[in-house]
């Protein structure tokens, strides 16, 4: 365990060093991230310009969902997406062998291969949106709610990561997976709206196929103090089970991997 923690620290330092080399790019990326956070509020403002509430969510409450969306986007693009994109490149070039030969767990190595530290701006943006939303509501989130929200944040990260691992595992079979990740990101975009807005087929997809509700709507409900604690625990258990599934899928695809280069 201690060894893996040290390894994580090493990988993170390496990413930070790489990121530090392109300082101008950072500043540009950072500024862009801020700009996009503001820009993503435009449809929300238009929707609530004509209505007090949509599907039972007031503007301030929907703002909390948007905050979670921004925060999770930071996690996705800063910690999950970059390393797993690197694996796909490895698979295509056949250089995954070098990773598999190393004396540490391959899934751990590939999932910590690269971080983009500047995505922290998205996380901060999410926190600022929370602050604005609760300031407008004129109250503070309760301690229990914050606790449940933190638990759900962990669960959401685990689910997001597990989904990605499954997508990457698909790369062992179809090789060209950049489009698959593009599709995933475009579906994730729907998470910026409270899940109860959707009906019919979309609702089924967003609850069971790609559990977007778990990523933004449930944490927002927890923060607003509307989610019963047993439900939060149930979701957390679901996340753990899902991670187990992803692990099984990963091990299975790794065992069937035949190098492309040699």
């Amino acid at each position: 365990m201690g060894r893996y923690l040290r390894l994580l620290a090493v990988q993170f330092r390496a990413s930070a060093a790489v990121a530090m080399q392109y300082r101008v790019e950072f500043l540009v990326e950072g500024a862009l991230a801020l700009f996009w956070t503001g820009w993503s509020l435009v449809p929300l403002l238009v929707v609530y310009g004509s209505r007090e509430a949509v599907a039972g969510w007031s503007f301030d409450e929907a703002l909390v969902v948007m905050g979670w969306f921004t925060l999770m986007k930071g996690v996705l693009e800063g910690a999950v997406n970059p390393s797993l994109t690197t694996v796909v490149e490895h698979i295509r070039k056949g250089t995954l062998d070098f990773v598999l030969l190393k004396p540490a767990d391959a899934q751990f190595l590939v999932s910590t291969a690269k971080f983009e530290p500047w995505r922290i701006i998205d996380v901060l943006g999410g926190l600022v949106i929370f602050a604005v939303a609760f300031h407008r509501m004129g109250r503070l989130p309760e301690a229990g709610g914050v606790l449940a929200a933190c638990l759900l944040f962990a669960a959401a990260t685990v689910i997001l990561y597990s989904l990605w691992i499954i997508v990457v595992a698909a790369a062992f079979f179809v090789v060209k997976v950049d489009n698959l990740s593009f599709l995933f990101v475009s579906i994730y975009d729907a998470a910026r709206w409270p899940a109860s807005v959707f009906r019919g087929a979309l609702r089924v997809i967003f609850t069971f196929v790609v559990p977007l509700a778990v990523m933004t709507t449930f944490p927002a409900e927890a923060l607003l103090g509307r989610l019963a604690p047993p439900r939060a625990l149930l979701i957390a258990a679901g996340a753990v089970a899902f991670a187990g599934l992803a692990r099984a899928v990963w091990l299975r695809s790794i065992s069937r991997y035949t190098s492309a280069s040699s």
Partner: protein, 265 residues
């Protein structure tokens, strides 16, 4: 010129074969155009109690399904190819051929159209079934002009991509520049929200930007939201943009190719 013209059928055939060969990839691409469906769900939920502006629930359904169809028909991806080929130096192979690279890209992108039609036609028919014929414009002239507006929209999309892509000859970061373009497109083209629902000044600004003519104009016209004289005036604006962007793309390419030095290859 005649030699170029003779090459076009072959280019189209190659492009079509490519589209069929990577059909899984194509389907994934098409699926990732799901944004109109999300906005459709959202706005019909908003309009459940009372219409927004002149949009009722059925108007939103017609609007976003038409958006989906136009978007599927006007897709282009030349920017990613360009970025890759300029960076890797493989553009050099294209330059050896007697056909202008832009024309070759255009033919490749266009030839995926039959496959895209296969997907968008059922959506269009489904839309007709769901919201009824009365949401379609009754004007035969406008109906006949619809393909022209879609072609214009595709040309603006393609040429803008070609210009931004050509910037890769000068700067490394044409990709992030294009992201800004996409962000502006999302709002000013009516892709996310019908332009009328914005504050007045946004809709006015949109009339002077190319984005509106890439999407909202054909969509609003086909679902009968624009009267004939307005539609004809907008058609003129659309094709003015097409001509201006075509000249811009030619200029940018002529200048950019002078700077191009292939590595490797």
């Amino acid at each position: 010129m005649p030699r170029t013209l003779r090459a076009i059928p072959t280019l189209l055939k190659v492009g079509f074969a490519e589209a069929v060969a990577y059909r899984a990839e194509m389907v994934v691409w098409l699926l990732s155009t799901n944004m109109p469906l999300v906005m459709l769900a959202l706005w019909t939920a908003v309009a459940r109690d009372a219409p927004v502006g002149r949009f009722g629930q059925r108007d939103f359904v017609a609007y976003y399904l038409a958006t989906l169809v136009v978007r599927l028909l006007t897709g282009a991806w030349v920017i990613w190819e360009l970025n890759y080929e300029i960076r890797q130096g493989t553009l050099a192979f294209r330059l050896l051929r007697p056909v202008h690279p832009l024309l070759a890209y255009a033919a490749e992108n266009l030839s995926a159209l039959p496959v895209r039609m296969l997907v968008s036609l059922p959506i269009a028919l489904g839309a007709l079934l769901v919201v009824g014929r009365d949401r379609l414009t009754g004007d035969p002239l406008l109906l006949a002009l619809f393909p022209v507006t879609v072609l214009g929209a595709w040309l603006i999309t393609f040429l803008a991509m070609a210009i931004i892509g050509a910037l890769a000859f000068w700067i490394d970061q044409a990709g992030s520049l294009f992201e800004i373009w996409l962000g502006l497109f999302g709002v000013f083209s009516g892709y996310l929200v019908p332009l009328e629902l914005f504050p007045h000044w946004v809709a006015t600004a949109a009339r002077f930007l190319p984005f509106r003519y890439m999407l909202a104009f054909p969509v609003e016209m086909i679902i009968g939201m624009t009267p004939r004289p307005v539609a004809l005036a907008e058609l003129a604006v659309q094709w003015t943009f097409v001509v201006a962007l075509a000249l811009g793309a030619r200029g940018a390419w002529a200048l950019g190719l002078r700077r191009f030095a292939a590595f490797g290859g």
